[in-house]
């Protein structure tokens, strides 16, 4: 029997959510209850199929529509892309189960019809994320980046407040500006090399001034989108002001997407241009982000603002990868560690925002001084936050621990102990601001606790994500095996891609 071409899975991974987006927009609430369950299950099956064929048939390339580059667009599937697709499916699936209860409970009166728009936008975001992770064409990546921004902005304003409008506008403006910087870089790359295919570009880039200019424009554009300190100021209002399921998607997936592309460009396309001094600079910015994000999280007076600043800090860790990977001996360990950290942060942060949404609904507010003793009323949501917090702090055993440990070892082995110091200090700071919330949440409340029945549809998804963020530590060896398939990593990896 013929096995299906692995490209089939990839095509369906983009086509299905796109079709769902159209269906959800046209048919609206009549078919939504069915879609809510079909979408996560079907997408999980597709990702499983893709990973299965990846393991058995190796990494592959797919020419969309049968058009070969330079005219056509190439998709490339390797372990890293598959891992990002799998994490997208996990977080999106949990959000799909969670969102109906959230919108029904939080938007009872005004704008109930408007929140129906969440579904087409969420499926559109899913399609653009999947296309983004699959694509190996720098211009196609620009288009999917823009699609992601448009979908995200549309979902932020669903909160319906003037603050969320301002946050969405700020996010949109900076996102568009960053995309144009990236696009100018793409134009300069095409002017020099006549190709848009990342694989073809990888081998031939020179270190001339025009390439430097192009690389700087592209990387700076992506850093703005990844909210690396000091370009993070747009993130906290946007992520904290959005409805909770949207915050989860933005913090867990959308900022990871631009980080993913930075990683790909840095190691696959620009190794001839990426100077060690630039890598050290990114590391310093990452360290500043860890410190500044933690301080702001500690000073936050709202739960969701606290979690959003925690994202700024956690993104900082990912950028420690660049100076650590500059040492060839530990480059692979640092690369794997940073990706594990990104994956477990996606799970943990989605769990936190979803649990925060439930807590906000129960307390009627997410101001920290109103949340005294909230743990008694939402024990399962608080457990989800605790599990996610274990991973964020990097306590063993958790995905965050596995990732940070690999970065720590890479730092010590390459003699760059100051980055190891930053990692340890960052973990303590994270513990600081998370315990501040927990102390409030488990404190004895003034009024006798009213027992609230557990809302399973809203509390089980964040709990499952929290469990996954911890369990990923036990699956770390499997995750590493997956990530090594066709590792896009030139030093120490195979770096080969089957035709």
């Amino acid at each position: 029997m013929n096995t299906p071409h692995p490209g089939l899975w990839a095509v369906l991974l983009v086509a299905l959510p796109l079709a769902l987006a159209l269906a959800a927009y046209v048919a609206g609430r009549r078919i939504r209850p069915i879609l809510v369950w079909i979408a996560p299950l079907a997408m999980a099956a597709l990702v499983t199929g893709l990973i299965h064929s990846l393991i058995h048939q190796g990494p592959f390339r797919y020419e969309v529509g049968g058009w070969a580059p330079p005219l056509g667009i190439t998709w490339k599937v390797d372990g890293l892309a598959a891992a990002m697709l799998a994490i997208t499916a996990s977080v999106m699936g949990a959000v799909c189960v969670y969102a109906p209860g959230y919108f029904a409970g939080s938007f009872k009166t005004a704008g109930a019809g408007k929140t129906e728009l969440f579904w087409p936008l969420a499926y559109l975001l899913w399609a653009s994320l999947n296309a983004f992770f699959l694509s190996a064409d720098v211009f196609n990546l620009y288009v999917t980046l823009e699609l992601m921004t448009l979908g995200s902005v549309g979902m932020i304003v669903l909160a319906g407040t003037a603050e969320s409008l301002a946050a969405a506008l700020r996010y949109l403006m900076l996102g568009l500006m960053a995309s144009l910087l990236y696009l100018m870089g793409v134009a300069l790359i095409y002017a020099s090399y006549g190709s848009l295919d990342m694989v073809a570009l990888g081998g031939q880039l020179r270190g001339d001034p025009l390439t430097w200019a192009a690389a700087s424009l592209m990387i700076v554009g992506l850093l703005i989108k990844t909210a690396l300190f000091p370009m993070h100021f747009w993130l906290p209002p946007a992520h904290a002001g959005a409805p909770a399921p949207v915050s989860a998607l933005l913090s867990a997936l959308v900022v990871k997407a631009s980080f993913y592309l930075t990683l790909r460009l840095w190691f696959d396309v620009f190794p001839a241009v990426a100077r060690p001094s630039a890598a050290q600079f990114l590391g310093v910015l990452g360290a500043c982000a860890i410190l500044w994000g933690a301080i702001q999280a500690f000073r936050a007076d709202r739960l969701k603002t606290l979690i959003a600043y925690s994202t700024v800090a956690q993104l900082g860790y990912l950028f420690l990868l660049f100076p650590l990977a500059a040492a060839p001996a530990v480059a692979k360990k640092a690369w794997l560690g940073a990706i594990l950290l990104a994956l477990s942060h996606a799970l943990a942060k989605a769990a936190m925002f979803l649990a925060a949404g439930r807590i906000q609904q129960l307390a009627g507010d997410d101001r920290l001084d109103r949340l005294t003793g909230i743990g008694q009323r939402a024990p399962l949501a608080l457990s989800a936050m605790a599990l996610a917090g274990v991973s964020l702090m990097g306590l063993p055993p958790s995905g965050g621990f596995a990732g940070k440990w690999m970065l720590l070892v890479a730092g010590v082995q390459s003699g760059q102990w100051w980055w190891a110091l930053v990692l340890v200090a960052g973990g303590l700071l994270t513990a600081g601001y998370l315990f501040r919330f927990w102390a409030i949440a488990i404190a004895a409340s003034d009024h006798p606790s009213q027992r609230v029945p557990v809302n399973w549809r809203m509390e089980l998804p964040p709990f499952a994500l929290g469990v996954a963020a911890v369990l990923i530590a036990f699956l770390a060896t499997h995750a590493v095996e997956l990530l090594e398939i066709g590792a896009a990593f030139p030093i120490g990896g195979t770096g080969e891609v089957a035709p």
Binding site: P70, L71, F139, Y142, V143, E146, T149, L150, V153, G154, V157, A162, L165, A166, A168, L169, R170, L172, M173, L176, M177, L180, L181, L183, M184, A187, L188, Y190, A191, G194, L196
Partner: protein, 112 residues
């Protein structure tokens, strides 16, 4: 000076002007216009790249790929501009303001 360099320099100039204006002005409409000027700059550079004397294809014809990129880019720019304008209108209707809070020192946050 060939047509290519003229267009390319013009494009980079437009891009830089747009970027400066985007960062310097506070009014949301002007920011949206600045983004469109930046975009036009990139498109000009891409059109210049497609010029026959630069084309990657042999024999020297107009390179179709940058032109396809510009067409796609225009579609993206139109939808993004439409969304930005719609949000700006809604923001103005709800708050009566035409600038983002942190860009308008005279309004609420006079401490900055």
């Amino acid at each position: 000076m060939t047509a290519f360099t003229l267009y390319a320099i013009g494009g980079v100039g437009l891009f830089a002007m747009g970027l400066f204006s985007f960062l310097a002005v506070a009014h949301l409409l002007r920011k949206i216009l600045a983004l469109n000027v930046m975009g036009s700059g990139v498109f000009m550079v891409l059109i210049a790249i497609a010029h026959p004397e630069r084309a990657a294809t042999q024999p020297a014809n107009v390179d179709p790929i940058p032109q396809a990129l510009v067409l796609t880019g225009i579609v993206v720019a139109v939808s993004a501009t439409a969304l930005a304008l719609a949000l700006t209108c809604q923001y103005h209707a709800e708050t009566g303001r035409t600038t983002l809070p942190e860009d308008s020192p005279g309004d609420e946050r006079s401490d900055r």
